[in-house]
């Protein structure tokens, strides 16, 4: 998997770095000017998020620079950490121990291996078909029937969200798009950028204008103002980046809209799960962001849809 580092890639990376520099400056100015405990706490959280963004961009950039394999490894590790957070919060029983061992050490690496060798026919069905059928067999053989369906469903869900869906991000590198050979790295960058910047704008618009809550019982931070502002900004930015993708500006706007909608939905669903389990964040790995799962919930839901839309219409 050799990816060309062309001029457009440098524009994309340079744009993101410029954005980070600007946000760091804004964060610094705000930290000097804000008074009051609540305001200061918000700004502290904002600055922690910006610092974490530097880190995440650096890691992602490094993975991109190593070509395809670095990205596969990076998202494989991301899956591993997300899965660990997810299963930690999900009650399973002793009878699931061996199944969980398979999940972590056989199914997860196998999925990313299939992505690395670009075997679409198998990576797209391995978890929904084979893992789906084999794991409950292993759990049933362990002989514990208590809450069996519930436990089985939870493990399958964890696999689908944390492994299957996330693996669609590096799977973008395997798409054979006519006239775009060797440039798929930009497509992956575009996808992650639109999904994440939509989260950022939803957060920012929500903090500035947010009044009307969308689903107060699920997530008090999600407001109509944040939703509309975030999706509009991210779609505009996505449309403006059409030159780095195989899409026309209008197509790019449509794709960005799909990414941001799915991303928003992902955040909502993962919030509902957290709320049900009585926690605020999935973990505490990333300063200001909570856990890995808190950061990638939007990617999980958007990646498979973006992949299949692109595959259907452009290959």
């Amino acid at each position: 998997m050799n990816l060309k580092l062309d001029k457009q890639t440098f524009w994309l990376v340079g744009g993101v770095l410029a954005l980070l520099v600007v946000s760091s400056l804004i964060g610094w100015v705000l930290s000097l000017r804000t008074a009051g405990d609540q305001g200061r706490a918000t700004i502290q959280n904002l600055n922690a998020r910006i610092r974490a963004w530097w880190m995440m961009v650096a890691i992602f950039g490094l993975a991109m620079a190593t070509g395809g394999i670095g990205s596969v490894v990076l998202f494989g590790l991301t899956s591993f950490m997300a899965l660990r957070e997810f299963i930690t919060l999900t009650p399973t029983r002793y009878g699931d121990h061996r199944s969980l061992f398979w999940v972590f050490f056989i199914i997860l690496p196998l999925q990313y291996y299939l992505i690395a060798i670009k075997w679409y026919g198998l990576f797209s069905i391995m978890i929904p078909v084979y893992a789906f059928l084999l794991l409950p067999i292993r759990s049933a053989a362990a002989g514990d029937c208590e809450k069996f369906l519930e436990r089985t469903a939870k493990i399958q869900w964890a696999l689908m969200i944390c492994v299957y869906c996330i693996s669609y991000v590096p799977a973008l590198l395997s798409l054979d798009i006519p006239g775009y050979a060797g440039q798929n790295g930009k497509l992956m960058f575009y996808f992650v950028l639109v999904a994440q910047i939509s989260d950022v704008f939803q957060y920012v618009w929500g903090k500035i204008l947010g009044r009307h809550k969308i689903a107060p019982t699920v997530s008090p931070n999600k407001t109509w103002e944040g939703f509309i502002g975030g999706i509009a900004c991210a779609t505009l930015i996505g449309a403006g980046l059409w030159w780095a993708t195989p899409f026309t500006p209008w197509q790019s706007a449509g794709m960005s809209l799909a990414i941001t909608f799915m991303g928003f939905g992902g955040g909502l669903v993962m919030s509902a799960i957290k709320r049900d389990r009585g926690v605020k964040d999935y973990g505490n790995l990333i300063q200001g962001h909570g856990g890995v799962m808190d950061r990638i919930d939007s990617l999980c839901f958007a990646a498979p849809v973006f992949f299949h839309l692109t595959r259907f219409f452009f290959t």
């Binding site: 591993f80 660990r84 957070e85 299963i87 930690t88 399973t92 002793y94 121990h97 061996r98 969980l100 061992f101 972590f104 973990g283 505490n284």
Partner: protein, 200 residues
Amino acid sequence: MTRTLLVVLSKLVSGANIRWVGCAPDVRQRIYFANHTSNLDALVIWASLPSLVRELTRPVAARDYWIKDPLRRHLANKVLHAVLIERKKPTVHDNPLADMLAALGDRHSLIIFPEGGRQTATEMMPFKAGLFHLAKDRPDVEFVPVLIDNLNRILPKGEFLPVPLLSSVSFGAPIKLEAGEEKTRFLERAQAAVKALRQS
């Protein structure tokens, strides 16, 4: 070298979130007493201490388990500097309490599991009397309650392959044997102090 490796490995596998809730890490003499749910317990508590404190802290462990094969023997004796005690048939010459007091000396700290064996039940077993006798003999030592959470799902009893979930180790506020306090009362209070960390 082996020590560093073991510390890093146990932190990676356990993903332990280390919480100093009721006290700060300190090199003063302490007895850390914890709930016991997994073979990894002693290792993870030991690894979660800062290195200066770790150097002075010795886990107390069952001799029958740790002398079974050369690897365990090496880990227990050379790496963890464990205090191996007889839990099945204590005699006058083979008395766990005397061994623990000797190991404590005037500068070491201990990690002990007053429930005795590892538990599969969700409820904690009643604490054994050893903790009370230690408290009575060494009033100068701090008794720190420790709660280990989720480690039993990482390596349950009877399994040898760990599933790398996330766990947590919480250190509570030290407790003291009150003047004239009875054995059962003290042991109940000690257990309550461990349980209370679940809500903190």
